[in-house]
Amino acid sequence: MSTLRTEEMTLNMGPQHPSTHGVLRFVVRADGEVMREAIPDVGYLHRSIEKIAEKVGYRGFMPYTDRVDYVCAMFTNQGWGMACEKLAGIEVPKRGEYCRVIAAEFNRIASHLLSVGAMAMDIGAMTPFAHVIREREMINDLIEELCGARLTFNYMRIGGVAWDLPPGWREKALKYLDHFDPILEEYNALISWNKIYVERLANVGVITPAEAINYNLVGPNLRACGIKWDIRKDIPYSVYPEFEFEVPVGNGQWGKLGDSMDRYVVRIREMAESSKILRQALQKIPPGAVLAKVVRNFKPPAGECQIRVESGRGDMGWYLVSDGTGYPWRVHVRTGSFAAMGIIQKLSAGLMIADLVTLIASLDVIAPEIDR
């Protein structure tokens, strides 16, 4: 009997694919169900945001920063604001910083909710997605009251935030948090500790701590590898030192340290921590102005700086070069998703094709943030 002829398949996944979290493409070389390699092809959402910055000036660029990462736009706003403030030496009023933290932490919960819900959906559980979207809508309602927008907020300004909290908003936000904390338990009961779900995630896409650092992974992806590193704690900015919160790290409880389940659980725990920060911030918020006085024609002195913000997808670095005119000379955003995409090719070797979806979802990759 002659042996069967076998050959490697080359498959195309994307750019339009329901589980690629945006417009991404993978060229997959597979031997049956097992991948030899998945080569990411990005750039479909490249809008040359960095070039736009050079043309629209410092203040005009703020709405564009929303589009860098539209799932957690508060952090891109804050990153741009902080970079400009560092160059020009502007101090944000205390209440402005509190407003920033409150808006950003609500945004982090919304971003993580979408991430964990979409992850369950990618794996085949449809119901959790409806639950997280219900919660996310309520947060969107709160943020809409705050700044008028539900997705691309444009809430922050150089020197603070655009608007103070509306009357009665604080009580509403606290009431929402009372509702949200038990929801997290409910969500865990619904999906997180489900045996089928855990087995789909555990031991898939294991990243070692040394690899994570070498590939420059950041945020929840880095912490899932057991490295306790959070910009809010370790290079403190804004008013984060005034709050008490834990930095959740992966512990390999379900499989190996740094697998997809660890990344998932870190996000779930971070939501609870954000809720803690929000309670403290809403209680402690001082009276005063929310926006520093900044000249209309904003021109920071010539120089360059980099600032780092802990966004929903981790450490986001804004590198800003100014030549002293009203237009930035160069802006570069280093984002978490860009680094996370860079490691997929390496991790994919030997994985099942169905696990590629798990891997992308667990790294929480957002396409616009890669392409900018």
Binding site: H46, I213, N214, N216, G303, R330
Partner: protein, 169 residues
């Protein structure tokens, strides 16, 4: 260690191959010899006092008379960071890749190649990453002129406001 102390330590190791240490506020940086960038990378990665285990950011800047590649290094072990720069000529800028030291350099160097046209010698996969493969020119160069069309698709759109204006007349 403070950023300036780190740069002084690098200077004591490499001598005049560190061309300049800036004290420019807010962030200081060192300009180094482009021919020795891999040696710099290896030293800063392996030296136990510096232990820069992460290349946190790599980007390029076009200054009209030169192109600079900027490296933001960071150490998770000691929790400090430093900035290195190399200055390259504007025609055919080329520098050795740091992929061998930090894997994260792979994609960031592809991006710099794509948007600024810096060639990284020894890079394993020097292709465009964000722009289409048949794109001509490097958009983040200051003298880049956007082509009027790409494969018959116009890159500019007539302003709808102007169109309404002309209709009135």
């Amino acid at each position: 260690m403070e950023a300036l102390q780190i740069l002084e330590r690098v200077k004591s190791q490499f001598g005049d191959r560190v061309l300049e240490i800036s004290e420019k506020k807010p962030d200081p940086f060192a300009v180094v010899d482009p021919g020795a960038i891999v040696e710099f990378g290896r030293f800063m990665n392996e030296d136990p006092e510096l232990a820069m285990d992460c290349l946190s950011n790599e980007s390029g800047v076009d200054y009209k008379d030169r192109i600079e590649v900027v490296y933001h290094l960071f150490s998770y072990q000691h929790r400090h960071g430093a900035v290195l720069k190399v200055k390259l000529p504007r025609d055919n800028p080329s520098v050795a890749t740091l992929e061998g030291v930090w894997k994260s350099a792979n994609w960031m160097e592809r991006e710099i190649f794509d948007l600024l046209g810096v060639n990284f010698e020894g890079h394993s996969d020097m292709r465009r990453i964000l722009m289409p493969e048949d794109w001509i020119g490097h958009p983040l160069r200051k003298d880049f002129v956007e082509p009027a069309q790409y494969h018959g698709i116009s890159t500019v759109r007539e302003s709808p406001i102007v169109r309404l204006d002309t209709k009135k007349k």
